[in-house]
């Protein structure tokens, strides 16, 4: 007679808690590592492309060329790192990554300007990092544009053709994040990323450790059902990770001013679903592997880079090819991140992200159900083998 699953969850949970308590460092890491990482990254990282190190080659040496260089130097986008004599000197600086861009002003620059011809300057760019390269090229174009406009307007002014004002004003408003503070993009993204990695790694050992130590056989011969085993194993981790996720939220609020704009209950709901998905993914990995070594490797490889790339944290998903977009549906952090941004930054209600909540639920249920099915099959294999043996 097998015990009822519900009744046997309790003892499994107690055993897990006892085992977790025994390893103080792992417990501390599980609770505090996400908060620590957020603290560090929140301060260190930002998406701005500013202070691009720039070298200038001023072959003209006129007042006008100095003025243009000053225009580049006084913006926060470029930092003047070097002034070199010959364009040839740029090669070495660029290869060693001392500079990322260079401005070359030709000899004829001021002459052309005086004669009313349109002069050319060269702007060299280290394109290796396409992201900051594109942005830096944009800044350079904007600086040159405003410089030309000023010169043109000055010329118009001298001829008495209307005031020296620009005819068009562009007002930029950024919603949900008016000062475009990096922390507001970053904190939700980092939360999803860090939690995902730590969650999956926390449970990736759970079943495989029992296999490696041989205690799985004992569990198999006990009246414990696989479902009860999985539930009993995951509940303590859900509780621990709720604590660590709240720590992360509190830190985001206190240090980075990212307050929760929407409903806290909604946040808690999606958070728990996400935590279960992440932990369930770890359990599933541990159910299919035979050694902890492999299960940890898998956990790291499927969380670190894929979550980073496919969750929409850094790279916009809508730009990806269709196949990759399809793969991104396997990344639970993606759903969580969309919901998190909607709740925290936009204060939106369930109507704006109910589909994400549904997908998260599906993911969590699927990983746990698959783990249970795998364990059940293993268990039956085992008992069949035992029966065949004399």
């Amino acid at each position: 007679m097998k015990a009822l699953p519900i009744a046997s969850v309790g003892p499994v949970m107690r055993k897990e808690f006892r085992q977790i308590r025994r390893d103080t460092r792992s417990l501390i890491f599980m609770i505090f590592l996400p908060a620590f990482l957020l603290l560090m990254f929140g301060f260190a990282l930002n998406f701005d492309v500013k202070h691009v190190p720039l070298a200038v080659v001023d072959q003209d040496g006129s007042r006008a060329s100095r003025e243009l260089i000053e225009k580049f130097g006084t913006t926060e986008y470029f930092d003047l790192k070097a002034a070199v004599e010959r364009p040839g000197d740029i090669d070495g600086l660029m290869a060693r990554e001392r500079i990322k861009a260079a401005l070359i002003i030709p000899e004829t620059f001021s002459e052309d300007l005086l004669a009313g011809r349109s002069p050319s300057v060269q702007f060299l760019l280290d394109g290796a990092n396409a992201m900051s390269g594109t942005t830096a090229a944009g800044y350079a174009a904007a600086i040159l544009q405003s410089y030309s406009q000023r010169i043109t307007l000055e010329a118009m002014d001298r001829r008495g053709l209307g005031g020296a004002t620009l005819p068009l004003k562009t007002e930029v408003r950024v919603w949900y994040n008016p000062e475009l503070r990096s922390a507001r993009f970053l904190v939700p993204g980092l939360m999803a990323f860090i939690l995902m990695v730590v969650l999956t790694t926390s449970t990736a050992f759970s079943i495989v450790r029992e296999k490696e130590r041989g205690t799985m056989e004992q569990i198999n011969v006990s009246p414990l059902r696989p479902a009860a085993l999985i539930i009993g194993k995951i509940v303590p981790y859900v509780l621990i990770s709720i604590a660590s996720a709240h720590l992360v939220l509190a830190l985001g609020w206190v240090l980075f001013g990212v307050a929760v704009k929407g409903s806290y209950l909604l946040l808690l709901l999606t958070m728990v679903l996400f935590l279960v998905s992440g932990l369930g993914q770890g359990i599933l990995i541990s159910a299919i592997t035979r050694t902890q070594q492999v299960s940890f490797l898998i956990a790291m490889l499927i969380t670190i880079l894929p979550t980073f790339i496919l969750s929409g944290f850094v790279f916009p998903i809508r730009n990806m090819p269709a196949v990759i977009q399809a793969i991104s549906y396997l990344i639970p952090a993606k759903y969580f991140l969309i919901a998190l941004r909607a709740i925290i930054l936009k204060g939106a209600g369930l109507a704006a992200f109910w589909d994400q909540v549904l997908m998260l639920t599906g993911f969590g249920v699927l990983t746990l159900a698959l783990s249970v099915a795998l364990l059940r099959r293993r268990g039956e294999d085992g008992s069949r083998r035992r029966r065949r043996a004399p």
Binding site: M40, R96, L125, A130, L168, K169, W175, M300, P306
Partner: protein, 375 residues
């Protein structure tokens, strides 16, 4: 030497015992590479946008056409009033909105200052910033057009507008493809994750299983044990490096402009660091779970502070100093230098030196700690 070989043999036998290990070690780098090569794309195009033209004049249409025809934005909806924009942005159906207020055309005609508004969804990482940059750039171009039209009208005065042309030349990556930057980076990330994790677990596993004691009572010397334990991971690392480099070249067409031998040599130098870190983690961990969570503590900060996605020059001064002791930071410059820029040792010697010095120090400290634990 014989002792080392026998340890080496034992390690390989043990590694082979889990049939899933080799697929994970050798196939996952390729999968990661393909994923990253196709997904890492920041070239923002067709940002879903809402257009709100309250003026409905010829000049407002001309301006909005400038935005629409730029290719950066795709029009999701045209709305009548500001309040309708809310819904689109709240639900994430649009990321930007362009608003032309009433009276815009009249002001332009009267040569008075007219204004437009660009609204961006600031919650979505970078696309907002990139979109705003594009938007203001296009608006600036329109400004220029309006000035030029004023000049046209005043042609009789013999004035010509001045325009400073920028000849932009992009080195190393002329098409500015994110892929060319990210894919070489995978080489560093894979090497780091694989070798650190394997090394940190390899020794803890012996301790957990109780076989460490057995190894200690054999006549094997500690240094032989360490070399025999770490060498398989060096080989795995080199094979992975080969896979990554061949896929990057063969599939994505990313060149290796510099010396391949130098690249491999510096991969080895980099592995001094990662294996040293792994060994260190294994000396301070009792269980594999502990070792794993401790590796995360070492690996994640290294990845995000390495300049892989987030440029180091944008970090606060303090963190820029912190990155000085992150080996993968130097390795990234080296990989990019050799692959994309065709750089050689004369340009990269300082980075290579940093890798070797850091690696030697880390490995020496870990070995010392490890030997003390054995005694």
């Amino acid at each position: 030497m014989k002792a080392i070989l026998s340890i080496l043999w034992k390690e390989f036998v043990q590694l082979r015992r889990d049939p899933k290990l080799f697929p994970v070690i050798f196939i996952s780098p390729i999968l990661q590479l393909l994923l990253l090569g196709y997904a890492a794309n920041l070239d923002v195009k067709n940002i879903p946008s809402v257009i709100c033209d309250m003026d409905r004049s010829a000049s407002s249409r001309a301006l909005l056409d400038d935005f629409i025809n730029s290719g950066y934005f795709s029009v999701e909806a045209r709305v009548e009033g500001m309040d309708e924009i809310d819904r689109y942005l709240d639900h994430g159906d649009a990321a930007m909105a362009f608003v032309v207020p009433r009276g815009f055309g009249d002001k332009i005609a009267a040569r008075r200052k007219a204004s437009i508004m660009i609204i961006a969804d600031g919650s979505e990482s970078q696309s907002a910033m990139i979109g705003v940059n594009y938007g203001t750039m296009i608006a600036a171009r329109t400004t220029q057009r309006i000035i030029f039209e004023a000049f046209e009208r005043a042609k009789g005065l013999g004035l010509k507008p001045v325009l400073v042309n920028a000849e932009v030349r992009v080195w190393y990556n002329p098409e500015l493809k994110s892929r060319n930057f990210m894919v070489p980076g995978v080489l560093g990330l894979i090497l780091m994750i694989m070798t650190t994790v394997l090394a940190s677990l390899g020794i803890v596993r012996e301790r957990e299983a109780g076989t460490m004691e057995q190894l200690i009572v054999t006549p094997i010397r500690p240094y032989q044990l360490i070399v025999g334990k770490l060498l398989p991971f060096v080989l795995i690392g080199l094979v992975d490096a080969t896979f990554v480099i061949s896929v990057a070249r063969g599939w994505f067409g990313i060149p290796v402009r510099g010396s391949v031998a130098l690249l491999y040599g510096l991969c080895l130098a980099f592995m001094l660091n990662t294996l040293g870190t792994g060994l260190f983690i294994s000396t301070i961990s009792r269980t594999q779970q502990q070792a794993m969570l401790t590796s995360l503590f070492f690996i994640l900060p290294q990845i995000l502070l390495s300049g892989f996605v987030f440029p180091i020059e944008n970090m606060p001064r303090f963190f820029q100093y912190v990155t000085a002791i992150i080996p993968i930071r130097y390795f990234f410059v080296i990989i990019r230098g050799i692959m994309l820029k065709g750089a050689g040792l004369s340009e990269l010697w300082d980075k290579a030196l940093a890798l070797i010095v850091l690696g030697t120090v880390i490995l020496a400290l870990s070995v010392a700690r490890f030997r003390k634990k054995l005694d």
